[in-house]
Amino acid sequence: MPGATFAGLSPERLSLSNGAVVLAKQVRTTPAVTINLAVRAGSVCDPVGTPGAMYLLSRVIDRGTDRRTADDIAEELDSRGIALAVTVTRHLFTVACTCLAEDFEPVFALLGDIVRAPSLPETEIATRKGEVITAIRQDEDNPAVRATEALMALLYPDGHPYGRRTKGSVESVEALTRDDLVRLHADRFAPGRLSAVIVGDVPTALVTDAADRVFGDWRKPEPPPVPVLTVAPVSGRRSLVIPMMNKAQADIAYGFVAMTRDDPDYYAGWLMNNALGQYSLGGRLGDSIRERQGMAYYVFSSLDANVMQGPITVRAGVGPADVDRAIASIDEELRHVSLEGLSAKELNASRQYLIASMPRALETNAGIAAFLQTVEFFGLGLDYDLRLPDLLRAVTVEQAHDVARRLLDPDRATVVIAGPYEAKK
């Protein structure tokens, strides 16, 4: 049986007196270090009525602080070959970069300054608004984005934060003011919401000292929690067509509201989804739609279990003449998995793959940092990398079948098609 030794990451975890968490792992593979600062302030924190606020903040947060101008920051980054990645997901606002290990201390201090004390200059807000609006216009012309966003809006109606566009709309972005962003930062950024993950060729003691210097004196009260919303069950099948006749290919987004990350069925769901739409080139769905029928360049499924019930979705890109046939095939595969379950052979193949792929997933500094942020965010424990194989091994064929039955019912699917396709009259 194949297998490679995996000793475990055993990261260092330090909780500062103000609640900030620091996770450090020294890795000497390359003379570089990945710094990943995540604040629990994702797009779910957008105030009702101003969707896109957190996203615009992410475009402006690194354009000046109380101590540095935008030009100062640009020089500090560019002279070291660094590009910051500032990203917003549903629950996390992340400022991250990879730099040379020799630059760790000044770069970490810079990132700390950006997270704690952005100055949010008016001129920068105006320029970044222009960029965001252009990006929203590009999204409007992108069948994949249109299909996915429309699916989420249908699955999560009535103001549910998962149903809103992270970037907001042209109108909502135009209406945002500097005061809105200042208030959002003041309300949502606090040390108790920060986890700093540092992975690379820097001694752990140096990391913890630097973290104390950069974040130790940050004092702010804990922001109020974001309400956790549930979604009413869907009673029937829904379809939406977004005609985009200027496009060559249609995108299909097909899905269901699925589960939270702490759902007891999570590991069964993960394995089932892997076999259904990920394993090798798209699991069973890939076998049917790409390999046997040659209909699509891509087809896959994904399970996004989250703080609130996240979705399980199937995505495919197909020619306009194949849309109906592709959707019928997705229905058929899902119905089959739901009725018959997966074979032990398929489940074991997925299980073996997921377990054996851990050394690859944890090879690079950026890969380890992303893993540790997930561990911290969901409270999975510092030995999660060592426990994970057993959690996957414990899933039975029956449990995988049960979760398929629970999640995959084509009669209750929500289906969106965006592209050169028109709904049948």
Partner: protein, 441 residues
């Protein structure tokens, strides 16, 4: 202090050439219990004759469809049981296949690649079914205005050299190509004396070479000499333009200049020039472009994005065997006319061609490139890629000596490169000028 890790981009691999002509490059790297195998073929879209554009890429797809000893339905799972990933790509100069998995999969990876080289099946039904998959890939690319513009600009910038046609091929060729076309191309180019096998990771070099010999040693070399590409793109006589008017929601501008090949002495100065203009990217086609460049203080970012004319600007100079293009791609902000963006862009490019760069800019660009060369090889997969990629376009030494050559670039050399490349008579301008969606045509 130069640590072992810092040296990653400059440590030479162990090189062996088997009796059948297969070049084997092995690089031991004991940082993770993994091994990465890449098998490279010196055939890309530039080797395709008229009527068969896209054949190399389609052949790549067919080489995942089973072999004499790996039945079609057992292709999947061999590498997955070792937690591995596998893939392949085709570009203008090369075609490649890779597997990265736990080190105990080394034999399986070598077996797969040896089968792929000599014994792929090309079942007629699979050829036919793959036609639709490739047409779908092409259509997906055309959904993206920036990609469409890139394709059209390249086709206009070259009038003789086959770099002009897209790797995926032209639609009519893809519709008419036959199984015999595909199989003929496969048999012509897939032979050990036209291939490079790269093995990197937690392996013993002598043992890896022995295993390579076991798996590949029995494959006969091809005897017919490969057709050699003789076309040299003639000097461009004047500015060229292409304007695409289609429905869309954003306006895109792209400019392309004929640029030095990897073996040209001007290549390193041109990389520094690109870093000054748009921020350094590194030189890893497989991974560099996944990381955004450091460009906040770069000239074109300041001239276009900071002034609100563009929402993004990106430069690209890739290492290629023959002279390809230096491109700058710009997305105009909502409401900004493309003519204004073009004027501001060309002003900056003319300025650097006329006046060169400052010492401070030179130092910053070099620091960026030094860091990016290290970030380029953060995994054994990326390291193995670099060794094989450069071997297909002029020799791995081009890669191993890149860091010191970049460190030695002078401002005078950059100025000379700028003056030589950024000439108006060497320029092709492309516009994607959107028509209102759903409007009158």
């Amino acid at each position: 202090m130069v640590t072992t890790a810092e040296a990653r981009p400059s440590v030479a691999p162990v090189r062996t050439v088997l009796a059948n002509g297969l070049t084997v490059l092995v690089r031991e790297e004991h940082t993770a219990p993994l091994a990465s195998v890449w098998c490279w073929y010196k055939v890309g879209s530039k080797d395709e004759p008229p009527g068969l554009t896209g054949v190399s890429h389609w052949v790549e797809h067919m080489n995942f469809k089973g072999t004499t000893n790996i039945p079609r339905d057992q292709v999947k799972g061999i590498i997955e049981q070792f937690g591995g990933s596998w893939n392949g790509y085709t570009w203008i100069d090369q075609t490649t296949y890779l597997e990265t998995a736990t080190r105990d999969a080394l034999d399986r990876m070598l077996f797969i690649e040896s089968e792929r080289m000599a014994r792929s099946l090309y079942h007629p039904d699979d050829c036919e079914s793959e036609r639709t998959v490739i047409l779908s890939e092409l259509a997906g690319g055309e959904n993206d205005p920036d990609q469409l513009l890139d394709q059209e600009l390249t086709a206009v910038a070259f009038k003789a050299h086959p770099y002009r046609h897209p790797t995926i091929g032209w639609l009519p060729d893809l519709k008419s190509m036959t199984r015999e076309d595909l199989y003929g191309h496969y048999r012509r180019y897939y032979m050990p004396n036209n291939a490079i096998l790269v093995i990197a990771g937690d392996v013993d070099a002598a043992d890896a070479i022995r295993r390579a010999e076991q798996h590949f040693g029995g494959i006969a070399p091809g005897d017919a000499p490969l057709p050699r590409l003789r076309t040299v793109e003639p000097e461009q006589a004047g500015e060229r333009r292409v304007t695409i008017r289609r429905e869309g929601t954003a306006a895109y501008l792209k400019v392309g200049y004929h640029a030095p090949a990897v073996s040209d002495a001007a290549f390193c100065p041109a990389l520094v020039l690109d870093a000054v203009l748009t921020g350094a990217k590194g030189v890893n086609l497989w991974s560099s472009f996944r990381l955004p460049p450091p460009q906040r203080s770069a000239r074109l970012y300041r001239a276009l994005v900071e002034r609100g004319l563009a929402s993004s600007v990106a430069g690209a100079l890739l290492p290629t065997e023959d002279p390809f293009l230096y491109t700058v791609s710009v997305t105009a902000t909502e409401g900004t006319p493309l003519a204004s963006v073009e004027s501001a862009l060309l002003d900056e490019l003319d300025r650097v061609a006329r006046d060169g760069i400052s010492t401070a800019e030179l130092d910053k660009a070099k620091a960026q490139l030094r860091a990016r060369l290290i970030f380029d090889v953060d995994s054994i997969t990326n390291l193995a890629h670099q060794l094989g990629y450069f071997e297909t376009i002029g020799g791995v030494d081009q890669y191993l000596t890149l860091a010191p050559r970049l460190a030695a670039v002078t401002a005078v050399q950059v100025e000379a490169a700028a003056a030589s490349i950024l000439r108006r008579s060497n320029l092709t301008v492309g516009w994607f000028d959107p028509l209102p969606v759903g409007g009158d045509r």
